[in-house]
């Protein structure tokens, strides 16, 4: 038995543009043909968002603007349950809490970064401390099950309620990472 997730168009909603949908494999003898969105550009992600599909393109420009100058291939963050239904050239970052993709701010950025670059998550958290809601950060980290990644870079310093799970990097090394990666336009 296979559990699936599908995207429904609700009454009054316009369909996704034809160029963005590709047919899924059709089983022999089955009358219905399923389609899934194909995401190949930032514009496609925007279109999905306009159609209320929680999708987010995590780009290096966003992280750099948030105080950690970095380059990486963008990640497409989508709800875990939609992963089999989206076709994309981007690397996929499955997210458990799809609400976190609706209005993403610095807390959501830190939580997404914890998945693939914990040092970036730490520096962004530190450089945006004034805008970081500790309760919200705790909630997002718990919802994604990222306590161990958060502990590694001592995010309890920003959200004390996050449970300590596993190893912690030495404070001195975290401070060194921050010193070594000044925001663009600032002195080291």
């Amino acid at each position: 038995m296979k559990v699936g997730a599908v995207l429904f168009r609700e009454p009054g909603e316009r369909p996704l543009p034809r160029k963005m949908i590709v047919p899924s494999a059709r089983s022999r003898g089955r009358p219905r043909k399923d389609y899934r969105p194909r995401v190949r550009s930032a514009g496609d992600v925007e279109l999905l968002r306009r159609h209320r599909v929680p999708a987010l393109l995590l780009t290096p420009e966003w992280v750099t603007r948030s105080g950690y100058p970095v380059q990486f291939g963008p990640w497409l963050a989508i709800p875990e349950r939609l992963v089999p239904n989206v076709s994309s050239d981007y690397r996929i970052l499955p997210v458990r809490d799809e609400d976190s993709l609706r209005e993403p701010g610095v807390v959501e950025l830190v939580t997404l970064l914890l998945r693939f670059d914990v040092l970036a998550a730490r520096v962004v958290a530190s450089r945006n401390r004034a805008r970081l809601d500790p309760n919200e950060l705790y909630r997002r980290v718990r919802n994604e099950g990222l306590e161990s990644a958060a502990t590694k870079v001592r995010l309890q310093e920003f959200a004390p309620a996050i449970p300590v799970v596993g190893r912690r990097l030495p404070r001195g090394e975290l401070a060194w990472v921050e010193r070594n990666n000044p925001p663009l336009g600032e002195s080291a």
Partner: protein, 192 residues
């Protein structure tokens, strides 16, 4: 495409006739997607002092500080991107001071568009041989998520055997392997 900071530093060193190898994230960037903007170059121990002297005269570079192993500059035209000039002696283990740089230049690097870049295994070796190796271990995990083959850790171990640094390196490589085996890391690695 080669980063503007890397191209600028390589041009400066070439003009001064100083052999160098780009190491760190900018070298890994050739095979992995994620890298910070800072530039690290290694020079031979015998060239370290004259390299620092020469770069201090460059108008586009601001000198920050210097130790026996590293000199820190900033690239002014690129908004202060840090440039570290690194003395190869710190990585030579039981070999002579010059030996690691010689290995790097002859076997552990390749030239792309006129710039010499260290191989991923050489970068990983140097990262794990520093005192901040735990932070660097996280960067190695990110590199693997970006698609650098984890088997390159075996090659880094090989470099350790060559320079007699295995006792120090083995525990650190084991730490990286444990990190790579974490379920959340494995789950992302399995995705296309």
């Amino acid at each position: 495409m080669i980063e503007a900071g890397v191209a600028a530093v390589a041009a400066l060193l070439r003009r001064r006739g100083i052999p160098y190898v780009v190491i760190g994230g900018q070298a890994i960037a050739l095979t992995a997607a994620t890298t910070t903007r800072d530039v690290d170059v290694m020079v031979a121990t015998g060239d370290f002092a004259r390299t620092v002297r020469a770069l201090r005269e460059e108008p586009d570079l601001a000198f920050d500080w210097e130790t026996r192993e590293t000199a820190r500059f900033r690239l002014l035209s690129l908004g202060g991107v840090p440039l570290d000039v690194i003395n190869g002696a710190a990585f030579a283990g039981k070999g002579s001071d010059q030996e690691f740089f010689r290995y790097l230049a002859d076997e552990g690097s390749s030239e792309i568009d006129g710039v010499v870049f260290a191989s991923p295994e050489a970068v990983w070796y140097t990262r794990l041989m520093t005192k901040r190796w735990k932070a660097y271990a996280e960067k190695i995990v990110t590199n693997v998520l970006d698609g650098v083959a984890p088997e390159r850790l075996d090659a880094a171990e090989g470099i350790g055997r060559r320079f007699g640094t295995t006792p120090q390196l083995a525990e650190r490589i084991a730490y990286v392997r444990e990190e790579l085996a974490r379920p959340e890391v494995e789950a992302l690695r399995r995705r296309p």
